[in-house]
């Protein structure tokens, strides 16, 4: 399952989407909103996205991971809109028969998402705001 949503992200949904009887490992990555950036106090974050393209990029990431590591299934969801400190902004889950492939595929997914997915982050501080990339 691949989605960009304004709703809070569900870890249970991620786990249920990838768990398989033939897979002995599920790796899970959760990105959360941090309360500081470059010495500044972050008060909140806003994400926006080109939803259709981002979801297509997520599917492409999963397809590449399957080709490289023979993963069982992958789940990627990213939240948009206003997020508070501690909120989950991205959830990635991936299953595979053995743990090494699950970890590698999960790392590949988040690193590729950060470079390729058309999603934008605006950080708000007590002293202003900034667009954050990379």
């Amino acid at each position: 399952m691949f989605k960009v949503t304004t709703e809070p992200l569900s870890i249970d949904e991620a786990y249920a989407a990838v768990r398989k009887d033939g897979c002995g490992a599920v790796a899970l990555f959760i990105g959360t909103v941090r309360d500081h950036h470059d010495g500044k106090k972050v008060t909140r974050i806003s994400y926006s996205a080109f939803k259709e393209m981002a979801e297509k990029e997520f599917a492409a990431i999963a397809k590449e991971a399957e080709a490289r590591w023979k993963t069982g299934a992958m789940y990627i969801s990213h939240r948009t809109g206003a997020l508070a400190i501690g909120d989950a902004s991205v959830v990635i889950a991936v299953s595979s028969p053995h743990r090494a492939e699950a970890f590698e595929a999960c790392r590949y997914a988040i690193e590729t998402l950060k470079k390729m997915a058309p999603i934008w982050k605006e950080e708000f501080y007590d002293t202003g705001k900034a667009w954050i990339s990379g």
Partner: protein, 74 residues
């Protein structure tokens, strides 16, 4: 021909809008981008529909071109 251009993130903020309609005589994504009159950094990527493309990609009437400034998901 008329082409719709979508703007996102900081580009939409700078332009004060998220969509422009341009009329172009040329036939590539680069021609469409030039017709917007926007001054774009080299870091801005382009999409045609939902695929990343380069500036030399041909466009057709009704296409949607998106300007993708540096992304920050995760």
């Amino acid at each position: 021909m008329k082409i719709a251009v979508q703007l996102f993130g900081p580009l939409a903020e700078q332009a004060g809008r998220s969509r422009l309609d341009v009329t172009v005589t040329g036939a590539t994504v680069g021609d469409v981008v030039a017709a917007t009159g926007l001054k774009l950094d080299r870091s801005v990527r382009f999409a045609l529909g939902t695929d990343y493309v380069d500036a030399s990609t041909p466009v057709r009437e009704g296409d949607v071109v998106s300007l993708i400034p540096p992304v920050g998901g995760g």
